[in-house]
């Protein structure tokens, strides 16, 4: 049973009398990679900076590895918290070489041991042989690796990553995020990253927190966020989907245009009340044998699949992911089938 390494308990941050973070609470277990996901201005970076110690908090408590590092009254300076940080712009020191940057935070380590550790870390991030280069001569991806190695060098208890891949191009971003996950996992590092890109969050993180307006909407694994969103905002923000009107017909049971299903984690709604059912594109399958017919109103080619927007007889639309050899013209009617046991519904 692993212990909790990072705990936020009702944390609030205020800038010039403006609240930017409300009642933020979550826990990260040792060895877990967490992610705060949200649009810009949602407070995710502020949360990261509060954990690192760059922002004082106005409410709540932050604990790292059992030490309470921040309360309203007590603020540990960043250098005491034992937290490594990878900055969005890397913040490498231009007056030092790659080795100088990586070894920077290893105070009190004998120079031979330091050099050995620097070399080992450069090996890990795939930059062996670059020790004596200056950082401005490196590519964006290489700078990113130096920043990671530098943050890992002092062996922090917790690693924070602020939009670590946003300055890289898409292809490199995907490759590097996988690499970073492998490095972190192989070292058993606990890490928290911040991003606006849900693919990045899904690729890297064990736990994801969706933030909006300075509040945490849901803290969960990626699967749960996608298939069991806690509220309508999370359902909209994460992934694609459509909402269909439905009626509650019994305890945990409802009826909508595509059938009758059990409802999961449904707030106790009175029988007869009207709700909205969330259908993801992968819940709706194409099936020529089905009697349920829907008309293609829009289609988007996604390589292996088509994303069809389908109009039901009532006029409501749903999304469906269909293997791309099923190429149907707009206006055509196709058979569909619901591949889902329990649905999620919102009032």
């Amino acid at each position: 049973m692993s212990k909790s390494l990072l705990t936020l308990d009702g944390v609030g941050v205020t800038y010039d009398d403006k609240r930017v973070l409300h009642d933020l609470s979550f826990t990260l277990l040792e060895g877990e990679i967490g992610c705060l996901l949200g649009a810009s201005g949602c407070g995710k970076t502020t949360a990261l900076r509060a954990i690192a110690g760059f922002e004082p908090i106005r409410a709540g408590r932050i604990a790292i590895n059992g030490d309470t590092v921040a309360t309203v009254a007590d603020h540990w300076p960043p250098q005491r918290r034992g937290v490594g940080m990878v900055f969005q712009d890397y913040a490498l020191f231009p007056h030092l070489t790659v080795a100088g940057n990586v070894g920077f935070g290893m105070n009190g380590v004998a120079s031979a041991a330091r050099r050995q550790r620097v070399d080992e870390l450069l090996e890990v991030v795939g930059l062996a042989g670059y020790a004596d280069h200056y950082t401005h001569a490196l590519s964006g991806g290489q700078q990113q690796r130096v920043a990671l190695a530098r943050a890992l060098a002092p062996a922090p208890r917790l690693l924070l990553l602020d939009e670590p891949f946003s300055n890289l191009d898409v292809e490199l971003r995907e490759r590097l995020s996988q690499e970073v996950r492998d490095i972190l996992k192989s070292r058993g590092m606990t890490a928290l990253l911040v991003t606006h890109d849900q693919h990045e969050a899904f690729a890297l993180a064990d736990k994801i927190g969706v933030m909006e307006g300075g509040r945490l909407r849901q803290w969960d694994a990626a699967y749960a966020l996608y298939h069991e969103p806690a509220d309508r905002f999370v359902a909209d923000f994460v992934g694609e989907g459509a909402f269909l009107p439905a009626e509650v017909v019994g305890p945990g049971e409802l009826v909508f245009e595509l059938g009758r299903r059990n409802c999961l984690a449904m707030q106790d709604c009175a029988t007869g009340s009207k709700v909205q059912v969330l259908l993801r594109p992968d819940d709706v399958l194409h099936d020529d044998a089905s009697t349920l017919q829907a008309r293609v109103v829009k289609k988007a080619f996604r390589g292996a699949q088509f994303l069809y927007t389908l109009a039901l007889p009532s006029g409501a639309t749903v999304l469906s992911l269909v293997p791309s050899h099923h190429d149907h013209a707009i206006g055509e009617s196709i058979g569909i089938r619901l591949e889902i046991d329990h649905v999620i519904a919102f009032a």
């Binding site: 690192a52 110690g53 760059f54 300076p77 960043p78 250098q79 034992g82 937290v83 490594g84 940080m85 900055f87 712009d89 890397y90 913040a91 490498l92 020191f93 231009p94 007056h95 920077f104 935070g105 105070n107 200056y134 401005h136 530098r150 943050a151 060098a153 002092p154 924070l160």
Partner: protein
């Protein structure tokens, strides 16, 4: 330019610094010319006659600076005269010692004062921080020669401070003399520290913040972060700031003259007016140019070849609040510096001016003001036109030759005024002699002076010195006009001249106004060129200040000084208003 200034509250100072920096750095980077980052414009059909070719224009403008510089440097190879031998034996050693002390003292002083003020105002929050941040740059508005005589008036034996000490303690003989090497160094440090302060502050604000956070996340305290990160990262800025201050220091004439502290500039002046020996003046000037060049080289070496790019954008990080008692101590220290460098001298200046205003504020004084205004305005007009021509040529051509011309043309800002005065006068005097001979041959026996003794000498010297000041804002305004804007105009049927009138000039208006204003104020404050090349009767405010301080008449010198300082504050106010509007 390696050091770029991006965000600050004081664009006018940046203008000055940019211009000066450009000139300084230009000295050694003549060959290291940036390849234009935009594609060259498509060649336009040549309709202009050959004599209006942009290259020719650019080099013509550059000649304004190159001819005087060349004349002065050429004197290095001139045969040594009797006067020169005398100087080398009896004068030169003292000049060198004095100059070396001055440079060392001002370097240490401006660095210490500038860096510490920049650090506290950039990183910490304390009472009055926001106001100190801009006010600490104010001493730049006061010419060094004005502060010089005010300092002497304040701290000399008969001054108010020592009188007060005598009233209380009965004896003030222990008080260190202001008329000393230390006094000159102190005065120049107080005037010139803003260069280091502004550049260092800019470095700490733009790239220090995020780097300091990174250092903190790696376990360093603020103090460790300063020594291991902020200071080494700011090195190019610091070297830049100190070398600007030292160049000013080498160019300074008024301060050392007031303190009777002999340096190259005063020696040139004496050779010129005391000995009427142009050759000796020019040889001294060439040595001074060599000193400036050495400084520029040193700057280049110290800056190193590392390219420093800003680390991080302006982070949302707010300054760290100091505990109350420390905060008040820091505020007190800032106030002390500001008082010594600006507030107290300004108060003393106003007091003196007020005491003589009734009798001195007469038609004669208005004459000084009028001539100063006329000269400044005239010079501003000439210099801006030259800068515009140069910037336009560079834009049309975008090649090495035109950029080299621009580099060379803007060198003058790094060259002391005394040197340029000598360099402009010598060739014009030569030309004059030939014109007079020609006139006599043609039968006009009465002709004795054609160019000498006219405003042309003065205007050319001003142009050589201040072209960089006008070129910087003009060129940056020009760079904001994109090639596609020109192409859009062309696609709507506008010819080249129409593009110039309907696109370039309207879009350049702001930049040209800034350029004119900067030159105006600089000429207003200028002393050595005005002293050495003014036609008979052209006494300006600066000349009046020089004459009165030479006679030790501080009250009389105060009145014209106030006018000069007020003129120096114009751009501060105007541009502050402008910034306010944009913000």
């Amino acid at each position: 330019m390696a050091v770029s200034l991006s965000s600050s509250t004081l664009p006018w100072v940046e203008c000055i610094i940019d211009g000066r920096n450009q000139a300084a750095v230009g000295f050694i980077r003549l060959m290291d010319i940036d390849i234009p980052h935009t594609a060259p414009l498509p060649p336009t059909p040549r309709r202009l006659p050959r004599r209006l070719d942009e290259h020719a224009l650019a080099w013509l403008v550059a000649a304004v600076t190159l001819v005087p510089l060349g004349v002065v440097l050429a004197s290095l190879w001139q045969p040594e005269g009797e006067v020169w031998r005398h100087m080398a034996e009896f004068v030169l050693p003292q000049l060198l010692i004095n100059t070396a002390w001055l440079i060392a003292g001002v370097a240490v002083g401006t660095l210490g004062l500038g860096v510490s003020l920049a650090w506290v105002t950039a990183i910490y929050d304390f009472p009055g921080r926001k106001h100190f941040a801009w006010a600490l740059a104010l001493p730049l508005a006061m010419p060094a020669y004005v502060l010089a005589f005010v300092q002497i008036g304040l701290y000399d034996f008969t001054g108010p401070l020592q009188s007060l000490i005598r009233d209380i303690a009965g004896d003030s003989s222990w008080f260190p003399s202001i008329r000393s090497r230390g006094g000159v160094i102190l005065t120049l440090t107080l005037v010139l520290y803003p260069y280091v302060y502004l550049l260092a502050r800019n470095a700490f604000l733009t790239q220090g913040r995020r780097a300091l956070e990174a250092a903190a996340s790696l376990g360093l305290s603020r103090r460790q972060g300063f020594w291991r990160v902020a200071l080494p990262m700011a090195r190019p800025w610091l070297v830049g700031g100190v070398s600007l201050a030292l160049m000013e220091c080498l160019a300074d004439f008024g301060t050392v003259a007031t303190f009777n502290y002999d340096t190259f500039t005063t020696a040139i002046y004496k050779a010129w007016f005391g000995l009427f020996n142009l050759t000796a003046a020019s040889q001294l000037a060439s040595l001074l140019v060599m000193a400036v060049l050495a400084l520029a080289l040193l700057e280049q070496r110290a800056r190193g070849d590392k390219r420093y790019t800003a680390t991080g954008r302006g982070a949302a990080n707010r300054p760290e609040r100091l505990p109350p008692w420390r905060g008040w101590m820091v505020a007190g220290a800032c106030l002390l510096v500001l008082s010594l460098a600006f507030l107290v001298p300004m108060a003393q200046l106003l007091y003196w001016a007020w005491s003589v205003a009734a009798e001195q504020l007469d038609l004669r004084y208005m004459g000084f003001v009028g001539r100063s205004l006329a000269l400044s305005a005239g010079a501003a007009g000439v210099v801006v036109v030259l800068a515009l021509v140069l910037a336009y040529a560079v834009r049309r051509k975008r090649d090495i030759a035109s950029r080299l011309a621009a580099r060379l043309a803007t060198l003058g800002y790094a060259v002391p005024g005394t040197v340029l005065a000598v360099g402009v006068f010598i060739p014009l005097a030569w030309l004059d002699n030939h014109l007079i001979t020609a006139a006599h041959a043609l039968g006009w026996a009465g002709v004795s002076e054609v160019i000498k003794g006219t405003l042309l000498v003065m205007l050319l010297a001003y142009a050589a010195r201040f072209l960089a000041v006008a070129f910087e804002p003009t060129q940056s305004a020009m760079q904001r006009i994109t090639a596609s804007q020109e192409e859009a105009a062309a696609s709507m049927g506008l010819g080249r001249r129409a593009v110039l009138w309907r696109i370039h000039l309207p879009m350049l208006r702001g930049g040209l106004l800034t350029a004119a204003l900067m030159v105006f104020v600089d000429v207003m404050k200028e002393m050595p060129i005005t002293l050495m090349t003014r036609p008979f009767g052209w006494d300006t405010l600066a000349v009046r200040v020089f004459e009165m301080t030479s006679e030790g008449q501080w009250e009389m010198a105060a009145l014209p000084s106030v006018a000069i300082v007020l003129a120096g504050l114009i751009p501060v106010i105007l541009l502050a208003v402008q910034t306010e509007k944009h913000a």
